[in-house]
Amino acid sequence: MKINNFNATPVNNKNNSQFVAFKGEEVKSLGEITKNGCQKLLTLDRSGTMSRNLFIMNAFAFLLGTRLITSRDKDEKREILIRDVPSIVIAVVGVPTIQNFISKKMQKSPKHGFVFMDTKKNPELTDFPKWLNKHLGFSFKPKKEKLDSIKYSQLKDLYQYDENISSGLEGFSQRLADKGGNVKKIYSVLNLDKVEKEKLATLKDDNDSFIKELTKDENNKGLVKSIIGKLEKDDNAALKKAETLKTIPTVVGFAMTLGLLGFFIPKLNIYITETINKKRSAKIKSDDSNTKQPSEIPQ
């Protein structure tokens, strides 16, 4: 069906149904891919804040730069370098870096079966590796997959059943399975009756068989209805658990960042200052004793 006149790529029915955007794989929106490195840097977010890298550049150039230039003595310069350089970097990128690191570790553990990170296909190399490949003969390949945190709002869509979903519980479960979750474990967390929980436990463990057994078997219709009823709630147990699991890396991220910035770096600064002062006073003492020596020499 021809919709409009301006198709750059021939859009026919065959292509439409294989459209990547609807396959469950997320391609970064074109707006992101077609930007070059410089354009990516010189952007403001929708809320008006600078992008993180631009922020760091600004802080180094103006905050540190001016502090260094207007510093009144060597000691202040040293303090600025030891204290402020790592502080700025950690303050800007600390929380998301630590959060992602811990999330990845948690997601990989198969104990809980929940998903709270999404794999995003990263089809393009960034500019710098491309340049290295082209001009210096390196052979960097694009990373196949990238794990990225899902936002709380997306998490809600993932774990709360919507009656409008045309593919029903089967499609809902398949979506969770596709993202790497274990559907049986997820549903086991719901507040079902004892009888229903036992019935659920008898079903197979692996995703495909579980979904098939649950949705295709006539005997399980009551169970399906129950599960849907629980999943439709705003505060269902599966959603709550997923949110808690997602919150843990964030909490750790904040705690570690705050600890590094508020405790470790100032202590380090004080320790270094005291060490240097001790050395200086030791030097002063030895200078003093040197200057007194000639008068002590007996005539």
């Binding site: 069906m1 919709i3 409009n4 301006f6 750059a8 790529t9 029915n13 439409n16 955007a21 609807f22 469950g24 997320e26 929106s29 074109l30 707006g31 077609t34 010189l42 403001l44 929708r46 809320s47 008006g48 804040t49 600078m50 993180r52 631009l54 922020f55 600004n58 103006f62 001016t66 207007t70 510093s71 009144r72 003595d73 000691d75 202040e76 800007v92 929380v95 709380y152 045309s166 593919s167 499609g171 398949q174 979506r175 507040n191 009756d193 147990a237 949110e243 808690t244 919150t247 964030t250 705050l258 600890g259 508020g262 100032p266 004080i270 200052t273 002062n277 002063i284 003492k285 003093d288």
Partner: protein, 339 residues
């Protein structure tokens, strides 16, 4: 019957969807949901306030307290002044400048370049279909045509199998029209209103639009898996599909209408060359977007350059004063040893 009653009492769901334990568990999640909504600005503010401002001021006040026996007010004040002015201002200044630029100068610079291209492409198609149509001079009617075209391209193809497509289309067009006729409050007030569930017309329409997109995505019968990112829709431009969040599109449509459609409907705006009109629009908006980032970069820089003059209260820094005290102490000790 009794058995049934006691069975219900033992029902696992009783008390576990409420109760203190779950409130305790959900409190961190609720707090961090807020920080996620607040984005980089709020995250940095919390980190800055708790880890840099508070401890540094405390350390400054207590600097050499063991030697002088007093709170070191100068050190404390300098730390406070420096941190409170530098940290948050690095985000507040760009936000203020961006807000002024978007509301007063060119509303269209807020959207992604790909969104602008996509909307332009749709408008161009409408014009090409019938260059002399009288509706092209009427802003309200042109808004409606654009919304219709958006729906057709996004949901009209064979990758969306829906019942009642026309009903959805009418609602889609109606709500997008509301984005241009109602006005949003300032961002801060909107957040407070949302917290109290007291939305104005713009926010209500935005929420309804978001719900509509979710509904359409879920009801799509083509897929046998529940859809990903139900809050997103695809905007087609020359280069391919561009995923955009429903609420973002709602705002972008309003800005597009305010900026570009407003200019387009003026008599003799395109001067006969429609293609050139849109090219110029795209170029100026893209350049202004980058220019805005550069301008805010230097505005923040300028403020930070001026900052030391505000917080430096004496000639010698607290660090130097500290070193001098240590030196005096060392000399005094050396003298005592001599005696």
């Amino acid at each position: 019957m009794n058995y049934g009653a006691s069975y219900r009492k033992n029902d696992v769901s009783f008390g576990s969807s409420g109760g203190i334990k779950n409130t305790f568990k959900s409190l961190p999640a609720a707090t961090f949901k807020l920080t996620e909504k607040g984005g980089f600005f709020l995250e940095f503010l919390i980190v800055d306030a708790l880890s840099m401002i508070a401890p540094r001021v405390w350390v400054g006040l207590n600097r050499d307290r063991d030697k002088t026996g007093q709170i070191n007010i100068q050190a404390g004040m300098e730390e406070f002044g420096r941190e409170i002015l530098s940290g948050p201002s690095m985000n507040l200044i760009p936000m203020a400048i961006a807000s002024i630029a978007v509301h007063k100068c060119m509303p269209a610079i807020k959207m992604d370049a790909a969104t602008l291209e996509g909307l332009n492409q749709h408008l161009k198609t409408i014009v090409d279909e019938n260059p002399n149509h009288p509706d092209l001079a009427d802003k309200g009617k042109l808004n409606k045509k654009l919304a219709e075209k958006l729906f057709d391209n996004t949901f009209g193809g064979s990758n969306f199998d829906l019942d009642n497509k026309n009903e959805y289309k009418n609602e889609f067009v109606d709500l997008l029209g509301k984005s241009t006729t109602t006005k949003p409050k300032l961002a801060l007030f909107r957040k407070l209103d949302a917290a109290r569930n007291n939305l104005n017309d713009y926010d209500k329409a935005e929420k309804a639009f978001d719900n509509l997109i979710v509904k359409i995505n879920n009801k799509n019968k083509v897929k046998d898996v529940a859809p990903d990112n139900t809050h997103n829709l695809s905007l087609y431009n020359k280069k391919g599909p561009h995923d955009i969040n429903a609420k973002d599109l709602f705002e972008d449509f309003r800005n597009y209408s305010k900026d570009i459609i407003d200019k387009f409907v003026k008599p003799d705006s395109t001067k006969g060359n429609v293609e050139r009109f849109f090219e110029k629009i795209e170029k100026t908006r893209k350049t202004t977007k980058i220019g805005l980032a550069v301008a805010t970069f230097f505005a923040v820089g300028g403020f930070l350059l001026y900052l030391p003059k505000i917080y430096q209260l004496s000639q010698s820094s607290p660090a130097e004063q500290s070193a001098e005290r240590a030196k005096k102490e060392a000399l005094a000790q050396g003298g005592a040893n001599e005696n």
